[in-house]
Amino acid sequence: MSVLTISNLKVSIEDKEILKGVNLVVKSGEVHAIMGPNGTGKSTLASALMGHPKYEVTEGEVTLDEENILDLEVDERARAGLFLAMQYPAEVPGVTNSDFMRSALKAVNDGKQTPLFEFITKYENAAKELKMREDLPHRYLNEGFSGGEKKRNEILQLKMLKPKFAILDEIDSGLDIDALKIVGENVNDMVNSDFGCILITHYQRILDHIKPTNVHIMIDGKIVLSGGQELIEKIDQNGYEWVKEELGIDFQEAEQA
């Protein structure tokens, strides 16, 4: 079992403080949903955990099984067992999905190459479970993919790489009902005693398919309320206004950074 611990994490972009002290502990087998209005720092948390160069950590600590991951490069974090399913995955022309996937698998398995036949079988099965096109292995990485295809490709990579923890950054945005169901079920199937997940969303729909063990509400760069699934219901019916009143905090919904 693994533990991801975020303590008093403060993050800035170009000297503007976005995260103002986030605390969160995620264990294998748990699914933590982080919800909140636009522009409150949810995606910043996701990118900062993975080590995106644009985000500067000014204070705090993040450990994965006691190892301080903030000292690690992006790729070292990945190899330590962290995965970020991105809100807007990059398109990489000329690099086929299968070549990329095979290189990435080799990297996370300490340089050990998966035998080709075993790789193809696994990849094709995973792609089938996500109902992706059959020519996927030969297509270039995310190039010309629809929004939904890109999101499913993120989950496909997640299934292949089998990290200890995944952060899914708005994996549900831009998905139609069918794709949402496929993505949700595939993520749900992954959760076990070796895998935990942080699910960042601002809609509730995905939570019909993935049942979180913990729900957090993030406002203005901080987690202001934590609880169970009852919070989802409350947000669904009342939005976030009640949080303001209940906690006596004031905030304005901003455009996503």
């Binding site: 490069e73 990059a90 000329g94 996370v108």
Partner: protein
């Protein structure tokens, strides 16, 4: 695959039917259709000139490999003509150790001929010219060149397409990659002569800088002396996209492998044209040695 080796101006081995070789001129008979590519190797044979003529309505793919360990001055003159209605695919892989190499290509496309021309340059110091002239109506030339420079390499690549016939189409897509203190100068010129109505010209030049000391210069030039034409061009120079590097690294690839994968991706449209597997592997290896 038909493989020919030319050394000291003579063919080593036998020629396939439909091909003749005299006076440094390789002729492909008209109406011949070669399913398999023809690979020609110019072996350690500097001061070489070679003319290739593809006969009327013939269809062929030619892979020319010029490789030499010789560090002295090397001069190569290559002429390739596509006769009426011929369809020619031509791929050059050029790996010269020379400290002063000059490589000149003259392509000629006659009426309704189609030429798909690719140049892959992984040389030390080279001045390469690829000059394509469209002399027949309906001629179509698509030219792609890629040059990869690394430590102390200096490559100057001049690509020129001249429209000397109406209704002709010429496109060029060129990529320069420079690493370490390598330098690439990429000049793309497309010329439409007076009276060549309905000509179509398009050029794109792309420079990728893989190190702070690398230098890339791109000069996209259109010279048009006729009103009734379509023409466009674009040029970009930049580092590898950091967002893409981050994406690949977030899957466990270190920076070097991520950048390598991306650069190989840019070259993939060219690499995939090299049907000859040992040559393709060698080209990929040469490229990756420079990254």
């Amino acid at each position: 695959m038909n493989a020919l080796v030319i050394k000291d101006h003579a063919i080593i081995g036998s020629l396939p039917t439909g091909i003749t070789f005299t006076d440094q001129t390789l002729k492909i008979a008209k109406n011949s259709h070669f399913e398999d590519p023809i690979k020609i190797t110019l072996k350690d044979d500097n001061n070489e000139s070679l003319e290739i003529i593809v006969g009327e309505s013939s269809q062929v793919k030619i892979i020319l490999e010029i490789a030499s360990e010789d560090t002295n001055q090397n001069v190569y003159d290559i002429k390739l003509t596509a006769k009426q209605n011929a369809i020619v695919k031509y791929l050059l892989v050029c790996d010269l150790a020379s400290n002063d190499a000059k490589l000149h290509h003259y392509f000629t496309a006659e009426r309704d001929a189609q030429m798909d021309l690719i140049g892959g340059f992984v040389s030390n110091v080279i001045n390469a010219k690829m000059n394509a002239k469209l002399i027949g109506e309906g001629a179509n030339v698509n030219l792609r060149a890629v040059a990869i420079s690394s430590t102390d390499n200096k490559q100057v690549i001049d690509i020129e397409i001249i429209h000397a016939a109406p209704n002709s189409t010429g496109t060029m897509h060129n990529i320069a990659i420079a690493n370490q203190n390598g330098k690439v100068v990429l000049n793309g010129v497309e010329k439409i002569l007076k009276g060549m109505k309905n000509a179509n010209a398009y050029q794109s030049l792309k420079g990728i800088i893989a190190s702070d000391d690398a230098i890339i210069e791109v000069n996209p030039i259109l010279l048009i002396d006729e009103y009734d034409v379509k023409a466009g061009h674009g040029a970009t120079i930049g580092k590898l996209d950091e967002g893409s590097v981050f994406y690949l690294m977030s899957r466990g690839l270190n920076r070097k492998d991520a950048e390598r994968l991306m650069i190989n991706g840019f070259l993939n449209p060219i690499i995939s044209e090299i049907d000859d597997e040992p040559l393709r592997e060698r080209f990929v290896e040469l490229v990756n040695q420079r990254l």
